[in-house]
């Protein structure tokens, strides 16, 4: 019984950590900018392939490859702001949310196909991974799962400190809560938007490495985590960061339990059922408030 519970717990926590990572980037951007970044999946894939390129093609150490993925993700986020979002914000603000969604769908498709043309469609092995397990009596804890949970915990702590304790984090939260008031306090909201997309891109980079280390690198790598991230965001309430993390871990553990009890094929349908139930019961999400259009 203990080994079954442990297996569910390990699977749930690892998947939950990956979901949380994917969700945080998405939720951060929505919460502070009212922007649904449909290119997030492709940015995540880009992170995974960047680490692969740095580690395999350039022969750099795994740690450098990991940092490289973060930097490439951050640059992608920055470029997304400079080339697309900034220009859309200059236009009619009332249509920004729909325009940016359509624009990022296009960017996501273009990025994914660029990766396909560059690396081919064959799955590749992510070199940044840990092999072996820590055996504690009857328990066997894979190092890879432990690494993912550790990285995610560290990253969440860094994000929490950044948002809660720094001047930049306060500006991001202020902009998310009341954009006009933040401007009156002297916050340059365009700079905040740039910072948020850079941060979100960096998180996507980490997430891409972590997800591909559990599976394999392939051009549509980011699609499944992003779909799950949307589910977590909807369940938690769009833009609610702590709620999204709680939903990610809670639903991942629930999914792992369902997969064990009813079979792997029931995991995803059950998650969708939960989303529908939450949307009926609490349309703004478990931790969300009714959204007020700011633009």
């Amino acid at each position: 019984m203990l080994d079954i519970l442990t297996a569910i717990l390990i699977a749930g926590l690892t998947t939950g950590a990956l979901y949380a990572l994917a969700t945080v980037g998405l939720s951060l951007v929505w919460g502070s900018m009212g922007m649904l970044n449909m290119a997030h999946a492709a940015m995540l894939t880009l992170g995974g392939y960047s680490a692969y390129t740095f580690s395999t093609a350039l022969g750099l150490p795994a740690f450098v490859g990991f940092l490289g993925a973060i930097v490439v993700g951050a640059i992608a986020g920055g470029l997304l702001y400079i080339l697309i979002v900034r220009n859309l914000l200059k236009n009619d603000k009332a249509t920004f949310e729909s325009n940016v969604m359509i624009a990022t769908v296009g960017i996501g498709i273009a990025l994914e196909n660029t990766i396909l043309l560059t690396y081919g469609g064959q799955p590749l092995k992510q070199p940044i991974s840990a092999t072996g397990s820590l055996v504690l009596g009857p328990l066997s804890l894979p190092y890879q799962n432990m690494l993912i949970v550790f990285v995610v915990i560290v990253l969440m702590a860094v994000i929490a400190l950044l948002l809660g304790r720094t001047r930049m984090g306060r500006a991001i939260r202020a902009t998310a809560q009341n954009r006009e008031a933040a401007q009156l306090m002297g916050v340059a909201v365009n700079r905040v938007y740039f910072q948020v997309l850079v941060l979100s891109g960096a998180i996507a980079g980490v997430c891409g490495v972590m997800v591909s280390s559990m599976t394999q690198l392939s051009p549509p790598l980011g699609n499944d985590p992003m779909l799950k991230a949307f589910i977590m965001c909807v369940v938690a309430g769009l833009g609610n960061l702590p709620g999204a993390v709680a939903a990610a871990f809670g639903l991942a553990l629930f999914e792992a339990f369902v997969q064990y009890v009813a079979g792997a094929r029931w995991g995803f349908p059950t998650l969708l059922f939960v989303v529908i139930a939450v949307l009926i019961w609490r349309p703004a999400g478990l931790f969300g408030r009714v959204q007020i259009r700011r633009m």
Binding site: N178, A182, Q183, L184
Partner: protein, 241 residues
């Protein structure tokens, strides 16, 4: 130094602004000097809040100029805030999920140093001691009067040259209004430059040194508060008696 040549702290010249095609302000001009307490009175929906929002950059200028210390007209609200315009907007516009302290610290976002932030915080807590008691309380859980106090405190934390206050009495009980105006009177006595908009001129009769009566986006009368209060025909025509 020749004082006559010195530009006013704030100068509005033929200011026209509004929302998309709707022109709300139709040519506003006046000056504010350091230490002034200027009040703009007028009926609801005639441009009082738009005036403050135009000065702070939230509503873009259609034409005209707004000059701070003789400088050029700026468009971005954050740049205007950096020049010392502290806007306490209508409805408070607090950051609802932040604590009182965090809201106040956001006011000092552009402060040059930690020591300066601490100095301003001490000043605010001395003037508004209740905020010190409530410092860790989330802003959304405050009462209307407390929220207004945080709004004013946050404006003070900006350390600006001019405090723009938008209808501080709106939606509050008479006792709370009295407290709020007590604080504003204290600020005025300490030499702060204040531009306040208010619907009821009687509330600022003892505070303001000059009134502008705004009607349909234009200033229709200017003068000392006592004079307006003595003009029954003006009160009846523009402020409903």
């Amino acid at each position: 130094m020749n004082n006559a040549a010195k530009p006013p702290l704030l100068r509005l010249a033929n200011v026209v602004s509004g929302y998309s095609e709707l022109k709300v302000l139709k040519g506003i001009s006046f000056d504010i000097e350091a230490g002034d307490f200027i009040t703009v009175v007028g009926p609801n929906g005639h441009g009082k809040s738009t005036l403050l929002k135009t000065i702070s950059g939230l509503v873009p200028l259609t034409s005209g100029t707004i000059s701070i210390n003789g400088g050029p007209t700026l468009a971005k609200p954050h740049a205007i805030a950096a020049l010392g315009i502290a806007h306490v907007p209508q409805g408070d516009m607090l950051f609802p999920e932040m604590s009182v302290l965090e809201n106040l610290l956001m006011g000092a976002y552009l402060a040059p140093s930690k020591a300066e932030i601490d100095r301003r915080l001490d000043e605010v807590f001395t003037l508004l001691p209740k905020l010190s008691d409530r410092r860790n309380q989330v802003a959304s859980s405050l009462s209307g009067g407390e929220r207004r106090m945080v709004g004013i405190g946050r404006g003070l934390m900006m350390g600006g040259q001019i405090l723009l206050i938008d209808e501080p009495s709106l939606g509050l009980a008479p006792l709370i209004i009295e407290q709020i105006y007590g604080v504003i009177a204290e600020l005025s006595r300490s030499g702060r430059t204040i531009l306040l908009v208010e619907e009821n001129p009687a509330r600022v009769a003892d505070l303001a040194n000059h009134l502008h009566l705004l009607d349909d986006g234009v200033i229709v009368w200017s003068g000392p508060p006592a004079e307006l209060l003595a003009r029954d025909e003006l009160l009846a025509t523009y402020l409903g008696g």
